[in-house]
């Protein structure tokens, strides 16, 4: 059976690598985009089953990407997990229309929280 693919959109290269490391350990396929523009191309290329998304990115914010994803029927169904240092200032109610299913606080989460969030949105 094919393992799900998770796209990590995070502009801190080493943090993205760390998230990928944690996910690969659980046998997920991973792809990384360091900014929102390349993330849009990557979505077309790898058809991710879930997206882990930082809020503040180089060039444009996560909201640009989420708007773009909501424009198309297929990409609007990809569950998004926001993973940000600004998590305390975001609410899931406000972000639900953008396909956001979970919000993780980068500063307090553990690698296992990331895995649990991915598992929960892929149920």
């Amino acid at each position: 059976m094919n393992q799900p693919t998770v796209l990590i959109v995070e502009d801190d290269e080493w943090l993205a690598e760390q998230f990928a490391r944690a996910l690969k350990k659980e046998n997920y396929h991973t792809a990384v985009s360091l900014h929102a523009l390349s993330a849009i191309e990557m979505v077309d290329k790898v058809h991710p089953d879930a997206i882990i998304l930082d809020v503040l990115l180089t060039g444009s914010t996560a909201f640009t990407l989420m708007h773009e994803l909501q424009t198309y029927d297929d990409t609007s169904r990809i569950p998004i997990i926001i993973c940000s240092n600004l998590a305390s200032e975001l609410t899931i109610e406000n972000l639900k229309p953008y396909g956001v299913k979970r919000i993780l606080d980068k500063a307090s989460m553990r690698p296992s929280d990331l895995i649990a969030a991915v598992k929960s949105v892929l149920l």
């Binding site: 502009d11 080493w14 943090l15 760390q18 490391r21 180089t58 240092n85 600004l86 690698p111």
Partner: protein, 250 residues
């Protein structure tokens, strides 16, 4: 509170980024330190789990030490920034080539770990400039850090030394080969840098702009100025300092 619109977010962010008694606010400094601390914590937690291979562990430990060094550099810069108003920084003739070579030597491990090249492009014998060695070193390191974040994997960052205005001043520029800066961002940045802005200026939404603010403050303390040139494939952030009347003997 975060708003959905980027403009509104930036508006709110700049309000929080206001200076307090001429110094960066605690909010800005905390925001800037949160990223490296977050990374160090995530890597440490993974190492604690003990499931990484020996090679992976080595890489993660290297990332921890380099990220910690970067955070420590920022805390030192903040201390210097707070002391600028009540301390005198000795200005002396400096060989810019030697100083840039020292910075490159110091930062090459960080660039290598990110798979970026870092090199000096200079005339053989640039003029001496007048500045404070430590402040100038910190400026070049901040600009290099900024360029590293902006440069694509496998690309290069260059430090360039030029003599400008018929030898009146020396320009030290750090060139990145990343995505071009939008024209309006460039205009806003240059305007803020020229006008000694009371708010930190940032070229990227995720940055508080503290690095550029510190650079501009340190340059000001040496009677210098900072600016940005936009290229089709990146940008050059530079500092201009007066050249020394003393002959270049080095």
């Amino acid at each position: 509170m975060i708003y959905m619109s980027t403009d509104k977010w930036e508006c709110e962010q700049s309000q929080e980024g206001e200076l307090v008694n001429g110094l960066p606010s605690v909010v800005v400094a905390a925001h800037e330190l949160k990223s490296p601390l977050t990374l160090v914590r995530q890597l440490s937690l993974m190492l604690e789990e003990g499931s990484a291979s020996a090679e992976e562990q080595k890489r993660m430990l290297r990332q921890i030490s380099l990220t910690t060094e970067k955070a420590l550099r920022l805390t030192c810069d903040l201390t210097y920034s707070a002391r600028l108003s009540d301390s005198l920084f000795k200005l002396e003739p400096i060989n810019p080539k030697q100083l840039c070579e020292d910075v490159i030597r110091e930062m090459t491990p960080l660039f290598r770990a990110h798979n970026r090249q870092f090199k000096l492009v200079s005339t053989r014998k640039p003029l001496l400039l007048v500045g404070n060695r430590d402040l100038l070193r910190r400026i070049i390191m901040n600009l290099s850090d900024n360029a590293l974040n902006y440069t694509e994997n496998g690309e290069r960052v260059e430090i360039k030394i030029e003599t400008c205005a018929a030898g009146q001043f020396v320009r030290l520029g750090v060139r990145d080969y990343g995505p071009a800066l939008p024209k309006d961002t460039l205009k806003m940045l240059n305007k803020k840098l020229e006008g000694a802005s009371s708010t930190p200026v940032h070229a990227r939404p995720q940055s508080s702009g503290l690095g550029l603010y510190i650079v501009s403050q340190f340059a000001d303390a040496m009677n210098g100025s900072v600016g940005i040139t936009r290229h089709r494939d990146g940008a050059t952030f530079y500092v201009d300092l007066q050249s020394s009347k003393q002959l270049s003997l080095l």
